[in-house]
Symmetry: C2
Subunit: 391 residues, 2 copies
Amino acid sequence: MNDFVYDIPVRVYFGRDQLKNLGPELKKYGTRVLMTYGGGSIKRMGLYDRVMKEMKDAGLEVYELNGIEPNPRIDSVRRGAQMCKDHKIDVLLAVGGGSTIDATKFMAAGACVDFDPWDFMDYSKQAPIERALPIVTILTLAATGSEMDSGGVISNPETKDKNGRLAPALLPKASFLDPTNTFTVSPYQTACGAADMLSHICEVYFNMNQDLFMLDCFMEGLMKTIVRYAPIAMKDPENYEARANLMWTSSWAINGFIDGGKRQAWSCHPMEHELSAIYDITHGLGLAILTPRWMEYCLDETTVSKYVQYGVNVFGIDPSLPAMDIARKAIAKTSEFLFDTLGLKRTLPEVGIDETHFAVMARKSVGGGTLPGFKPLQAHDVENIFKMCME
Amino acid sequence: MNDFVYDIPVRVYFGRDQLKNLGPELKKYGTRVLMTYGGGSIKRMGLYDRVMKEMKDAGLEVYELNGIEPNPRIDSVRRGAQMCKDHKIDVLLAVGGGSTIDATKFMAAGACVDFDPWDFMDYSKQAPIERALPIVTILTLAATGSEMDSGGVISNPETKDKNGRLAPALLPKASFLDPTNTFTVSPYQTACGAADMLSHICEVYFNMNQDLFMLDCFMEGLMKTIVRYAPIAMKDPENYEARANLMWTSSWAINGFIDGGKRQAWSCHPMEHELSAIYDITHGLGLAILTPRWMEYCLDETTVSKYVQYGVNVFGIDPSLPAMDIARKAIAKTSEFLFDTLGLKRTLPEVGIDETHFAVMARKSVGGGTLPGFKPLQAHDVENIFKMCME
C-alpha cells in the first residue's frame, strides 16, 4: 500500500438553486471574466441568460469565447489564452461539459506564459504549469469529471495528437453542479457520459496491488450508481434523482479520491485517445467499445480474483460459481450494459474505423514502450485489443 | 433532495512516510508552533521525538501544552488559548485523537477573541467563530473524524455540559494520517473508535428523506469496512491494512461528504453526550450501548425499508425474507458486532450508570423540545431508550 496525498480544495455548489452564489464566487478573484462555452446549447436551454444576469447583477465585466469543440483543439486554447492577455482577465468561467472545461484550464495556464500552450501538451516538451488564472465551472454534462480534477485533454489536428496533462494549478476553484442543467442531454450523450465514468473507475479498480478495501467499496458504489441511473436518465431525461446521482458520480470517479496510493497507468484511455485523435469519435463511445475487450484480454488466473469481486459486488453475480465463470459473466454483463442497455455501438467498423491505422495507434498509445496498467500492455497487445473490437 | 455545498480543503498526508512534509507544511503558516497532546502515549511510542526532530530541523520555535483530557475540558481550551496569546503562536499542531484535536480547535479560535472560549460552546450564547489560528493535526486514533471536519465537543465539568460546535474556521489546514501511529491503540480503544465511526454513519444513513443512492452506497462501504477491519485490528494491532482502512474511514464518516443535502438532526450523539457529560464514559462506548436500542425504538412500518437496505447491503442478510424479519436481524447483527465481536459492554449498569439522572439527561439531550432525527424524539422517547439500555 503506497502513501498518498489527498488535496481537493474545489468548492462544489450542488443543486437547483445555487447560481445565486456565482457572482460572489467570481468576485473573489476579480471583476474581469472570460466566459467560455461550446455551441449554442446553453443558449437554447436558457442557461446563458441566467448566467449573464447573475454576472451583470454582480457588476462583472464579461468577455466571451464560444465554439469550443467536442474534442477541444489547441487553436481554441490559443485563442482563449490570447483573450485573457488582451483583456487582462481575472477569472475564467467555463460553462459546458468536459471539453469546454478542459480547454479553459489550458487557456488559464496559457494566459500566464509567453510560449505556445501546445508546449504544455507536447510529451517531448512538458512545459511546466506553475500558475493558471482562477477557473470556475458550470457543468452541463456528467462525464469527464473535469469539474473536480486537475487534468485535461487537448487535440492537435495538425500533428494528429490528443494529449492529456495534469497539474494542481488547473484545479477549478469552484464548480456549480445543477442536475437540471443536464436535463437536455440527449440519450446518446448520456450513454457516452456513463461509459466514460465507468471507464474512469475501471482504470483504477482493475488493479492487482494491495489497495484500501474501503476505496474498492466506494468504486463499486459508483459503478452501481451508473448502472442503475444511466438507463433512467436516458428514458426519463428530467428525472432529477438520476441526473443528480450521475452528476456527483462523474466528479468522484476521477477526482483522485478513489486512487488512494495506486500509481498504475491507465489502459483504455490512452488507447481511446488514439482512436479519437484520428477519427474524432466521442470519447465515451470509444471507451465503451474498448473496455469489455480489454477486460477479456487481461483475464487470466493471476487476475481473475478482481473480476470476481467486480461481478459479485457490482452485478450481483452468484459468488458460489467457479471464479472463471463469474469473471466471464461479469464481462458479459459489462457488454450487455454498454451495448444493449445504453445502446452504444458495439464495434469499431460501426463507427467508421477500420484496421488502417491500428499499428500506428497501438505504438503511440504505449508511448513506444509498455503501458504498465492492470496487465502490462505492449504495442502488439493493444493492436490485438483493437482487432477484438472489429466484430 | 436538498442543495448542498461541498467544501473540504483539508490536505491529508496519508501513509507511513509522510512526516518529512510536516516542517514545510507548518512553515506555510509561520514559525511559532503550539504543539498540543494528551498523556504520555505519544512519548512512549516515539512519535513525540520524531515530531520534535522534524520541527527542530525546520527551524520552528515550539511551545507545548499537554494533559488534554479524553473528554476534553474547557479549562484546557482556556489554557491553550492563553498560551497562543502569550507566545504569539502562528500555528497549532495537535498530536493525538479526537479529544486533543477538538480541544486544539477551540484554542485556535479562542486565541483570536477577547472573551472566554466557553462562550463558543454555551448554547445560549453561541459566540461567533469568525477566525481561528491555522491547525495541523497528527492523528493517533481512528474514531471521531475531527482530523477532517470543522467541529468539536468540549466538556464543562462545572455546568455538567458537553457541547458541540461547528465552524468552517475550525477545519484543519492539513492532517497527517499514518496508520502505524495507531498500532499501539488498545483493543478496547480500537473497539470504541469503531463504534464511534459506525454511529457517525448511522446518524446520517438512517433517514427517510430522498437521498443520493450514490452516498448510501458509500456509507454502506464505510460500514462494511468497519465491520471487516475493527476485529482484525483488535486481534492483530500492527496489521497495516486494517489500521489504514479504519483510519481513512474515520475521516470520511463525518467530514460532511456523506451528508449530501441531508439536514436531519443526529440522535444517538446528543443522547450520548449527556451520558458522558455526567459519567465521563468513553464516547464510543456510550454510542455502542445506545445505537441498537435506538434502532429498535425507531423501527416501524414507516421506517422498515431503511433497515432492509442496511441489513442486506451491510450484513448480507437474505433479501427474500419479510421486511420486518430483515430489520430485526439487522439490529441483532449490529448488537452482535458491537457487544460480541468488539466485546463492548452491553448495558448502562455495566458501565456504572443507573436511572438517577435519566429524566434530566433526556430533557437536556432534546434541548427542551424535539430531536428532529430519523424519528423525531421527545424527552420521554429518549428516557425510554435510556431504560432499554438497563438490561
